[in-house]
């Protein structure tokens, strides 16, 4: 069975200097590598979570899948069709099948349009004609648990949670096969973030849609994703089945990230792993293994040699010279 989405060796870079500056600083690289050689697949009906901190490149990668960023190298295939670097016109047909939800729940909704017009926007863009628009609006709102009375409201009249649901309704309009959700719980209180996550889970069960979830909220990842990938400075340092990774993280960065989200229990004996230093700037990438300046288990080899991609268990890949064996130590 063809995978729904196949991402192979994707590289994306941005200019950090314009052409004239680049000419003047001949020896310095005028590009920032935002995504460096990322590969993964997504099956129908599956949820993959991409986890990482700032500068990891997860949003850039997501945008390239929806055609908002050009690839330097690599390929993105959706149901076997090559998506990378298509023209806007050629990409249009795929936009019916891939929808995206953005980070800012209210900010991603056009401020002067009503909820109804926002939800029906995908239909108008793709010039889908004769439908009963009122019925369609009602159906979509119901799917996300909002009453029909919301259809006349404006984005600034919605709470964060309600705005998120409108975003989901809009994403569902054309019955896509893949929804990319960028930080679906950002800005939501703990007591309500469950609402949106439960909704996504339900939609997957009912409609069989696949999700690609971008988040830095690890505790959420565990409950709603089948597989996860951890990104650092534009690369996947670890990817695999969520339960496997939570139970036994292999990469020191994954280990540190997992421990950074402490159990709200003052007597929890789990030690928080503290990493040295900060995330390096993308313009000053460390040599060898890019994580080595911060790694608690760094060895000489890590400083000079970039680690290879290793399969430590079926479906579980790590990029590390000394993956963790047990108890946080290699």
């Amino acid at each position: 069975m063809t995978a729904l989405l196949e991402v192979e060796n994707v590289r994306i870079r941005f200019r950090s200097k314009n052409r004239i500056q680049a000419l003047m600083d001949r020896d310095q690289d005028p590009y920032i590598e935002a995504v460096c050689g990322v590969s993964f697949t997504l099956e129908p009906g599956e949820t993959l979570a991409m986890v990482g901190e700032s500068g990891a490149g997860k949003t850039t990668l997501a945008r390239s899948i929806i055609g908002l960023a050009t690839l330097r190298q690599g390929s993105i295939r959706f149901l076997g069709n090559e998506l990378s670097n298509l023209s806007d016109a050629a990409f249009a047909q795929f936009r019916r099948n891939i929808a995206m939800m953005f980070q800012d729940p209210v900010g991603c909704l056009s401020p002067r349009r009503t909820v109804r017009s926002l939800i029906l926007e995908p239909f108008k863009i793709h010039r889908i004609g004769d439908k009963n628009w009122t019925a369609e609006t009602k159906r979509l709102l119901e799917m996300v648990g909002l009453s029909d009375s919301f259809s006349g409201r404006y984005p600034h009249q919605l709470s964060g949670g309600q705005a998120r649901r409108v975003g989901v309704a809009r994403a569902l309009a054309l019955s896509p096969k893949l929804i990319i959700a960028d930080e679906p719980t950002a800005g939501l209180d703990v007591s309500v973030q469950g609402e949106i996550l439960n909704l996504l889970v339900k939609l997957q069960a009912d409609l069989g849609v696949s999700f690609l979830i971008i988040t830095h909220n690890l505790s959420v990842v565990r409950h709603i994703s089948d597989r996860m990938a951890i990104m650092y400075l534009g690369r996947f340092v670890e990817q695999g089945i969520t339960d496997d990774i939570f139970y036994h993280p292999r990469h020191p960065y994954t280990h540190a990230l997992l421990s950074a989200n402490p159990n709200p229990d003052p007597d929890d004996p789990k030690e928080q792993v503290e990493l040295k230093g900060e995330i390096p700037s993308l313009m000053n990438r460390p040599r060898g293994c890019e994580f080595h300046p911060r790694c608690p288990c760094v060895q000489d080899r890590c400083r000079s040699e970039a680690p290879p991609l290793e399969t430590v268990a079926p479906g579980h890949l790590v990029t590390c010279h000394y993956p963790i064996k047990r108890n946080g130590r290699p």
Partner: protein, 329 residues
Amino acid sequence: MGKDRNSVLDIRNLSIEFATTRGRLKALRDVTLSVPPEKIVGLVGESGCGKSTVIFSIIHLLAENAVVTGGEIEFEGRDILKMSPNELRAIRGDRISMVFQDPMTSLNPVLSIDTQMTDIQYRANIDMEEKRNRAVEMLARVGIPDPRQRLANYPHHFSGGMRQRISIAMALLANPALLLADEPTTALDATLEAQIIHRLRQLQDMVHCSILFVSHHLGLIAELCDNVVVMYAGEVVEEGDVRDIFHRAAHPYTQALLECDPARIKEKTRHLPTIPGDIPDLVNLPAGCIFSNRCPQVFSKCRTTAPQRFEVEPGHFARCHLVTEGDVP
């Protein structure tokens, strides 16, 4: 906890309203909490609970349309609400310091760190060289590498995490009795958050100040704080020792909040718990308990009478009819 005369900060029955076009918004109602000396008190709550209003009222930097309708804020024996602007200026930055949420905008972008850190010591009767030394020492304590060389740098030369450390260093330079921290790590990455929190704990041991730490992140509160105050929609619904709150939560909101935290849920589940409903309109307050419309254990009295603050066990208070009726869950 409680009305300890030796508290650094004692807020009693504080009520604040905001004048809006729709009417008076009752942002804080009868808020009582105290910060003991050399302790870290966590103020936890979700959006709309009023925790930022509490912080800004302590340092008396409220918006123009804010009206204090009752209560007092006693700091080192004097009521902040009754102080003159000069008296307030005397204690701000000296006895009470603050660290803000957004490290990118809380430092002056056109002044060097040197200038900012020596400026803030203007009250100290020491010469410039000595001020500089103290600044360097404090920067080292918060973990800025090569502090003496970096004094000449400007804020934009530092990353977000570094800027937050510098803000903390500046806040502690004057040796304050109370440090107010308004979600200081919310804007930072998770791994950075861990560093800053550890640092804060170490610094507090060294400087011997009290910290009022505002956050919505339960895990951080559990790790860092000695006492916890839980707020909901403008009221303090529960307060106590950190173990009281996390192990023996008495108020249904606290219990529900803890249940909702996905980090606490041991078993993987596809259905996360939530608290259904929304906070009520604070302009037209409903009768009875403020949490009654969302409370899983609501009964008839909750909708008519507002509960009073009740001591569940020594030092542990909750505002709920369930505890006053004698049925502590």
